[in-house]
Symmetry: C2
Subunit: 169 residues, 2 copies
């Protein structure tokens, strides 16, 4: 009865989507790099200066984000300068807004800063403040306590996949 392997060493992809996401995003820096990209950072030095991340790690993190299709590396050239690279979010990267939004909302509610939420999410067009929530097919929010996670494959999945299931809380 061998124990389950740890997520980052599993030879084949983990079955659980949460694990696959965390294999890329679940460390101290990667989501902060993405956040900086949302805030407008594109160049190596933008990320380095904003985050204070070690440059070897930044090279590695940007590389893994590019490999994963979350960012893309483009060549740019300012007049009188040699060609350089900068980094831009792809659609996959832009979709991480939801993950960052969920983390931000959770932090605001459950790890409150000294002076109330320092930032909020809002609609560009209506300027209404926005929350992150579960929504049904019609785009209407549902109560979080009414949400459950279930398997999608009629029970075919290996025991490992069961780990995505259930919500007794």
């Amino acid at each position: 009865m061998a124990r389950a392997k740890r997520p980052d060493v599993t030879p084949d992809q983990p079955v659980c989507s949460i694990e696959r996401s965390l294999a890329l995003l679940g460390d101290r820096w990667t989501l902060l790099v993405v956040r900086e990209a949302f805030a407008g950072a594109t160049r190596f030095s933008d990320f380095r200066d904003a985050l204070g991340i070690a440059t070897d790690l930044l090279t590695q993190r940007l590389g893994s984000l590019v490999d994963a299709g979350v960012m893309e590396r483009r060549t740019y050239q300012e007049p009188g300068r040699r060609a350089r690279f900068d980094y831009h979010l792809t659609q996959a990267g832009r979709d991480l807004r939801l993950v960052l939004g969920a983390l931000q909302q959770w932090g605001d509610r459950h790890r409150p800063p000294v002076g109330g939420p320092s930032a909020l999410r809002r609609s560009r067009t209506t300027l209404q403040p926005l929350d992150v929530a579960f929504v049904d097919g019609g785009g209407a929010a549902v109560d979080i306590a009414d949400v459950e996670f279930v398997l999608n494959d009629g029970g075919r999945a290996a025991t490992r996949a069961q780990k995505c299931e259930g919500l007794p809380g």
Copy 2:
């Protein structure tokens, strides 16, 4: 012009809610421990066996989750057994469903598994499949491209807080 401090060593709390959340959740194991809790794990051995995590780390992660108010440690006693502890999600922990849901949805869409999504989110009462989305005050979903992050304090915040802002993508 000193560099910004790195998040986990910053003496006072980071201004950004995303950073505060990641300071607790942004490692390889913590969110997987929370996922197991959603899947019904309560005892030390449940988490250890499901995740294959080293026991010293599990002790530490459960402890930091309890300290942060995400889980609570309860005493239980089976008949003819001595008293033991188990771990249950608090409301703060249950609210992490949104973060896990966002990660799962992103993984399903952008790091697709071999055979389609292995799990989905649905309503307990209507059984409709659910998405994670941004919603306005009336509980209606808004297009993710229409979302921007803004400061909430009239520009009073330190430069560091600017890092939560902006959404050029």
